[in-house]
Amino acid sequence: MAKRITIDPITRIEGHLRIDVEVDNNAVSNAWASCTMWRGIEKILRGRDPRDAWLFTQRFCGVCTTVHAMASVRAVEDALKLEVPLNAQYIRNLILIAHALHDHIVHFYQLSALDWVDILQIPKADPDKTAKLAESLSPWTRNSRQEFKAAQDKVKAVAASGQLGIFTNGYWGHPAMRLSSEVNLLAFTHYVQALEYQRKALQVVGILGAKTPHIQNLTVGGVANAIDLDSPSALGMDRLEMIKLLLDEVVTFINQVYFVDVCAVAAMYPDWFKIGSGVRNYLAVPDLPLDSRGTSYDLPGGYVMNGNGGVHPFKTASDKEFRQSVAEDVTHAYYQGERPLHPWVGETEPAFTGWDGDQKYSWVKAPRFQGQPMQVGPLAQVLIGYAQGHPLTRKYADLALSQVSAIGGIHATPDMLHSTLGRHAARAIRAAMLGELAQKHWQLLVDNIAKGDLTVHNPPVFGGEAEGVGTHEAPRGTLSHWVVVKDGKIKNYQAVVPSTWNASPRDRSGAHGPYEASLLRTPIARPEEPLEVLRTVHSFDPCMACACHTFDPSGRQIAKVKVL
């Protein structure tokens, strides 16, 4: 008889990811991913000025503010066929890269490392041995015995107090935890250091965007940054140099710490290269435009069906095939509607009926591309780039595979990336690529300004009715905002966000969404502590709960792990 496990973190009143799995013979036999809150925010935009839409979309999510702002201005620009000056493209690209670097670092260390790292083994570690091990892996200057000892003392103090504080509720001592005490200490020390470097990346967003957490420098048609190399109050050499220093520090952390740690942890859990693949259709959009019209890009996009079925590249970020191929199915989502709808004619009319795994069970719609579920995110981007022979993707993907092979004494191949660990590896690969591109786009901006080009904005002109799509290959994958503009006002607006692709419920044909499919056949050692489920779900970097933040002082925010 299959056992049903529900993981439903009831926090505050916002929407949340809920996972239900059935476990049979110590492995997942069925899975449902659902979101517990209605997100009808797009309706607020109808009738508003399209030039303001990004201010509102920036508030969709507290983690991904910048990406929703960017997709929104791009959607309106696409509708108006408006070019974006080179300086504005480079400034936007730098903001997007810095935000992504911050996000990837936080995801690995703060949000998912403790699925693999057992905090309570750290007091047993030998800081000398840890330092020797670290030295063999990386030239990072902060891998000293003193750093490791200080981090170990923090954990010892917490353990001795009897109050685990931030570490309460971890699955410590779980049989699926298998790192040595020294590797646990190494990773935890970098968990502490990571906080400093993610902050430096955010500082770059703040300098260019005028403000964090909500940037203020975007406009439809460009950016609002005044450029004057000699002025301290505008974007001048002082600020540009500061940005360069910050980016260099972040890139060093990524290359010498994050990338290395992901390879080392992966090498020590090689069985997780065989778990968690799921949907092998992948989708990514081109990003980081290199010209004002958006005809060439530094990150390639396209799609792959059935794993190795050949890659179909997208030429532009609003490629015709992409524009025509997206529709949202609500067969298993709490909305009215019979057939899949394209986002330009999309509807968001709620019809809540309660959780029923055979009928409707989620507030997330099921986006489909050519009728198929698609996996999005760094893994999709890396596989699509790799298949196209994109040099930068190949460079860092091959480096990661060779490091995993060397540390683990295994033969790591690109095919192994279709997995839970593959998603972590791909994110580290993407971070290294973005690090190199950060330095490139900084130089492009400085060189373009040095030529005397100070243009940052092309004014929008409205009239008639037009449809537009704005895309961004965000930290969690393909984000698209779809707008219909009529007589200078917004007629319809839909956002198809990365976590909607990945967390989608089943569709009318019964096909699972990527989270659901990835969980099937996952081994479960202890149903009451479903660490293995968390590992795979976290590997996608889900972001569902960004809508509403009411604090719940009753302490009700304990995740419910229910075993039936």
Partner: protein
């Protein structure tokens, strides 16, 4: 000079959840504060809240709260009460996390000496760009809670002779363009 953060938390697109960002704008429009006081609309932060509160002498947060009280009720919580709550299992890694943030700051030794959360019980959290009547009526009480905490901390502030315009851009009439940015 004290390093003080006054932060409004909440989603301005979800009705009464926008009360935190609303209150920080009220404060900026009506008062001047001594140097070292920073007033921030934090939106709906995740772990980046650690950076916002770390190393401060005192933090005052304004947020909507989910309690079984009448809408418009104003409650306050001190740091010690918040850190006693149990952090959640991270199913969704972006779960907003005041409890986790505070515990993390304690682990890193950067937790502010004082932290006060002023919570307002909301009535509606549906997609909507304005506050409900009872939450609007509670704003005076929220302001006096904030000012009372500043008095307790010995932080100086003055009422502006003429209040500035309130920049509540999200509640602008849908037909209008947001003027404050142009």
């Amino acid at each position: 000079m004290k390093n003080v953060l006054i932060g409004g938390i909440g989603n301005v697109l979800l009705g009464d959840d926008g009360v935190g960002p609303y209150v920080v704008r009220l404060l900026s429009a009506q008062y001047v504060f001594e140097e070292g006081v920073e007033i921030v609309d934090l939106g709906t932060p995740a772990l980046d809240l650690i950076d916002q509160i770390s190393g401060r002498d005192a933090v005052i947060l304004i947020d909507s709260v989910n309690v079984d009280e009448d809408p418009g009720t104003v409650l306050s919580y001190r740091k010690e009460e918040i850190s006693r709550l149990t952090p959640q299992v991270r199913m969704d890694p972006h779960s907003p996390a005041l409890v986790e943030t505070l515990l993390a700051a304690e682990l890193f030794g950067t937790s502010p000496a004082d932290l006060l959360l002023i919570g307002i019980c909301g009535q509606s959290y549906e997609p909507n760009c304005s506050l409900s009547g009872c939450v609007n009526e509670s704003l005076g009480r929220v302001l006096s809670e904030v000012l009372g905490e500043l008095d307790r901390l010995g932080v100086e502030y003055k009422k502006k002779p003429v209040a500035e315009d309130l920049d509540i851009w999200w509640s602008a009439d849908p037909g209008a363009q947001v003027q404050s940015l142009r």
